[in-house]
């Protein structure tokens, strides 16, 4: 995402998460099934307000890559939070400066 933008400008935000996105349909070398483990929810908050969320399933490939647009309204932080089926959470923060 851009570091700064003009007020009212449409900005592009891209997210890449490193995650195996196990479908639950695969087996390991010993024939045991590998439990499903996908990033099931992703929420993006812009200065506290939720602007984007995604619910993902087993049809999404490993290392998911998402892209969306939003309007730059005020300077502040975007917080990205995701959680997977094993309960592992990840979060990332990015700041933006809005001029004008």
């Amino acid at each position: 995402m851009p570091r700064e933008a003009k007020r009212g400008e449409v900005i592009e935000i891209r997210i890449a998460i490193q995650h195996p996105m196990e479908t639950g349909f695969r087996f390991d070398l010993m024939g045991r099934s590998i439990p499903k483990n996908v990033v099931n929810s992703l929420v993006v908050r812009y200065n506290g307000a939720e602007i984007f969320s995604a619910e993902m399933g087993s049809g999404i490939a490993a290392n998911p890559y998402l892209q969306f647009y939003t309007v730059a309204e005020a300077s502040g932080a975007l917080v990205f939070e995701w959680v997977d089926d094993s309960g592992e959470r990840g979060s990332e923060r990015a700041t933006i400066a809005v001029n004008g």
């Binding site: 891209r14 890449a16 998460i17 490193q18 195996p20 996105m21 490939a61 490993a62 290392n63 890559y65």
Partner: protein, 256 residues
């Protein structure tokens, strides 16, 4: 007796002379990829290999082992200290007196200086560090030097490259020298260079090393795959680096 010996020497030189040495013109594997894969590699954000580079960058600054040192503690800013390093690997490490690739060198450094456990081959952490270090040499030409120390490894690598193997009874040269640019099933055969490694391969849905890629070639030949870290794989890597000398380092590459 003497003429027979001479004839043998002559035959050897003829056979070697007939062997294609380096493909001409040299083409990076990237040039054999489809437009969408190339676009993915060219865009640092869309390139999933950058996730490993970012992981490596983080590990670079983290202290590890009983030495409680980070990579940055000795080497400082990787953008400066690691520039032009990857292009010289694999090379013989003077301390260990054996051929190591970039991953092997990172693990040696962990053992010697950080007094840490070596990272598992093909683990995300090791691939990350290797990708991070290699990506500092982007655009610089692959340039391994052949000398007395690695001559034997090089010869072994070359021998493997030209030796038929597996149920398919093919050597590397049959695809990557004689048939590059032609199609094998749905794919275009590349020249088989290692300048983009570690790569992100869509088929693996993960990053992987050159060793992993060579192993999958063995699998394709229906040959016995050498174990990770096997000397044969290292020797082949050295031969490939010599063969692809001059190609720019493009780590992390993206392949189908």
């Amino acid at each position: 007796m003497k003429p027979a010996w001479l004839l043998a020497a002559f035959l050897v030189s003829v056979v070697h002379g007939a062997e294609p040495q380096k493909p001409a013109p040299l083409k990076s594997g990237e040039e054999f990829s489809s437009a969408d894969v190339r676009a993915m590699q060219a865009d640092d954000f869309a390139n999933p290999g950058m996730l490993w580079v970012a992981r490596g960058g983080k590990l670079w600054n983290e202290a590890a082992g009983r030495g409680d040192k980070s990579c940055a503690g000795c080497h400082g800013d990787a953008a400066k200290s690691m520039k032009g390093v990857a292009q010289r690997y694999p090379r013989v490490d003077p301390g260990a007196a054996r051929l190591v690739n970039l991953e092997g060198r990172i693990n040696l450094c962990r053992e010697r200086n950080q007094q840490a456990e070596p990272l598992k081959l093909e683990s995300d952490d090791l691939l990350g560090l290797a990708a991070y270090v290699a990506s500092q040499s982007r655009g610089m030409p692959v340039a391994v030097t052949l000398d007395m120390q690695n001559r034997r490894n090089f010869e072994r690598g070359r021998e493997l490259y030209f030796t038929r193997n597996g149920q398919m009874n093919l050597a590397c040269t049959h695809c990557h020298d004689r048939n590059w640019g032609r199609h094998l099933l749905g794919d275009t055969i590349s020249q088989g260079h290692g300048n983009d490694y570690p790569i992100y391969r869509l088929e693996w849905q993960s990053a992987g090393s050159l060793a992993r890629r060579i192993r999958s070639c063995f699998f394709g030949l229906r040959a016995e795959m050498p174990a990770y870290g096997a000397q044969d794989l290292l020797d082949l890597e050295l031969y490939l680096a010599w063969r692809g000398g001059g190609l720019p380092v493009e780590t992390p590459g993206v392949r189908r």
